[in-house]
């Protein structure tokens, strides 16, 4: 099990946003969390990543407790969790290469290894000729791939994706869903994908969890 969540609670201004939520995520699965907007999906992902402090319950990553009740035990930068944000959040002042290099540098990885890891990932996503481009010079789909590559180059234990396709038009969305499935195959990584779009959930998931008002309603496996 990559992620174990037990009895997790989160309140905002006295209002319960996540209620007694327990959940496990297995290695290499594509778990999709499906729920209407405002049901607490983003909050849940951010708690796994360590960007939001829970109020009760604990979260384990690879068997290690990373947060217990309202205490952060492992800081975000040490959790080995990757996250794709809704607006991708590529750093606009850095080239593609620098975007990928930042995290490796912050982790103190030496230059030769940085180069070889970046080259490997960039090759896999077929973006070699864009190494020195700035994010603004790329198309939406290319930006998406770079955002994923930026996470994967750090070899995370899990990739959290927060409605990365929500803003896009339906056609592009289908293309990128295919692309995403291919990337998942290539990298063999565990994914937790959040969306409010039913079709998207069924296209992508190996398992779907429905949540509403911060609680799990049901769990299904699409065929």
């Amino acid at each position: 099990m990559v992620i174990e969540i037990e009895h997790l609670h989160k309140f905002y201004n006295g209002k319960s946003v996540i209620r007694d939520l327990s959940l496990n995520i297995d290695k290499s699965e594509r778990l999709v969390i499906l729920g209407p907007s405002g049901c607490g999906k983003t909050t849940l992902l951010r708690m796994i990543a360590g960007l939001v402090v829970p109020d009760r319950g604990y979260i384990k990553i690879d068997g290690n407790v990373v947060s217990k009740d309202s205490k952060i035990i492992v800081e975000p930068e040490n959790r080995e969790v990757g996250m794709i944000f809704q607006d991708l959040a590529l750093w606009p002042h850095m080239t593609v290469y620098k975007n990928l290099e930042f995290g490796l540098k912050a982790k103190g990885i030496i230059r030769e290894e940085r180069e070889s890891r970046i080259d490997e990932v960039i090759e896999k996503i077929r973006m070699r000729e864009f190494k020195n481009a700035y994010p603004a010079e790329l198309s939406g789909g290319q930006q998406q791939r770079i955002a994923i590559a930026r996470s994967l180059v750090l070899k995370p234990k899990i990739l959290l994706m927060d409605e990365p396709l929500a803003h896009l038009d339906p056609e592009l969305r289908l293309v990128l869903q295919k692309e995403f499935l291919k990337l998942h195959e290539d990298f063999g990584i565990t994914v937790c994908y959040v969306t409010h779009n039913r079709d998207e959930a069924y296209n992508l998931a190996t398992r779907i969890i429905f949540i509403e008002h911060g609680e799990i309603l049901k769990v299904t496996k699409p065929i």
């Binding site: 951010r46 809704q86 607006d87 959040a89 590529l90 750093w91 002042h93």
Partner: protein
Amino acid sequence: MLRVFVLLGSVLLLIFIGFIPILFLFIKSFIADGRFSFQNYELLFDSKRTWILLLNSLSLSSATAFITLILGVPLGVLLTKTDLPLKRFFIILFIIPLIISPYILSMAWFYTLGRGGVVAGLLGEEIGAITSNFLFSFYGVLFVMVSVYLPVAIILTMTYLRTLNPALEEAARLSSKWFYILRDISLPLIKPGIMLSGLIVFVLTLGELGVPLFLRFDVFPAESFLQFSAFYNFNAAIAMAIPLGIITIIVLIIERRFLRKKVFQFGMTRMDYLIIPLKKTKPIFLIAVGLISSIIVILPLSVLIAKSIGGYPEAVKNSVDSIFRSLFYAGFGATLLVIIGFPMGYMLEHRAYRFYYTADSIAVFLFGLPGAVIGIGLIGMWNTPSTNFIYTSMLIILFGYIAQYTALSERITASALSQIPDSMEESAQLAGAGWLRRLFYIVIPLSKRGIISSWLVGFIFCLRDLGITMMVYPPQMDTLPVRIFTLMANSPEETIAALCVIMFAITLMPLGGLMVITRYMRW
């Protein structure tokens, strides 16, 4: 039709009131003995003193800008992004020096570090002589100017950090400690904002009249003022003003060319940005920030207040007329600033008409121009027999306020309007509402908070103005800052200190109003 009339009208008014006099000044600088000549410039540039003044002015302004950034950017980061306790309190504290007339602060430092000051009283005359020498030197002026303009760097750093897309930092947080995030992501992204605050501090320091005059440090605006008021040498004063104008234009060009388009990811203010936990270093930062604010704000103001005890009856008796005039002029000025600044801000935000950019450039240029230069321009233009009714009335002071401070109300309006979705006005338009109706029923109510803020900021800046007012005020029509300045030489210290405290107190009122607005009003 009405729209173009109002928008164009506001720009023409600013050009007429502020820009034409400066243009006149420029033309006049080429006239000597009734015909075209470079004589004024020859006199100016032949004199060794000119170059010394220029060097003094430039080195003071650059050093102030530099040190302000070195201190202000980290303070801005601490006060925005960390869990430092008492953040709001410190922010208010740091803003205070900006809103009072800068030379009042130098006065407070004089009572602290001068020969007869508090330090001399506590530590003996020898130490007092050292601190006094420090105060009346380049470094003393630099110190006072840094404490005055530190808030500019702090506030702009805070503002730009807040408009940064929080996801950019969150994405970095997954792999990095805060140190690298700030160094490689947050601060580089707001670099244009940081440079901008450096430029603003540079220009404002360049134009400062009161502090160098009081601390007897020779700079251009002070010399220009003296040539005019002490030697009645109008030509020399004009020639002095020109280099200041040229430097201001250069700075303006730098801003327009290099800083305009370079701001990334703007406009999406989300309030839930990540907070940096200071953890074990919290007490250290708290002590550091507490110490800085105590030294540059609390200490001088406490000394000023202590000094003022017993001076109030005399102060009020002497200057009650100036106090009321100050309030009246500032209130009137602020109202006019809103009336002219609002349409200009509207134009800037909507990029209405092609001249919005020129209009904004003119406003910003006039804001950057030293007050003394604007003052000389106004006098040159209105001191004629047929326009004496302007020259000898409060109009000339109000003209000065409009010329110098319209940029403030324009920019505040523009940023308030940028918070209103275009669709609000558009849907009213589709419903058939004319421009004026949309303005009064949609735009103005929605930007109430911005309008009130711009009025209060205008009020504060008119109230603290010394540069323009001291140049242009007609006899018996001075304001409190001017009165303090003229009384300074031959009045008891406690009277002067009391006047300074009164000045300080009446400036705090609009600041209080401003804080209530930013805190409790949604719109």
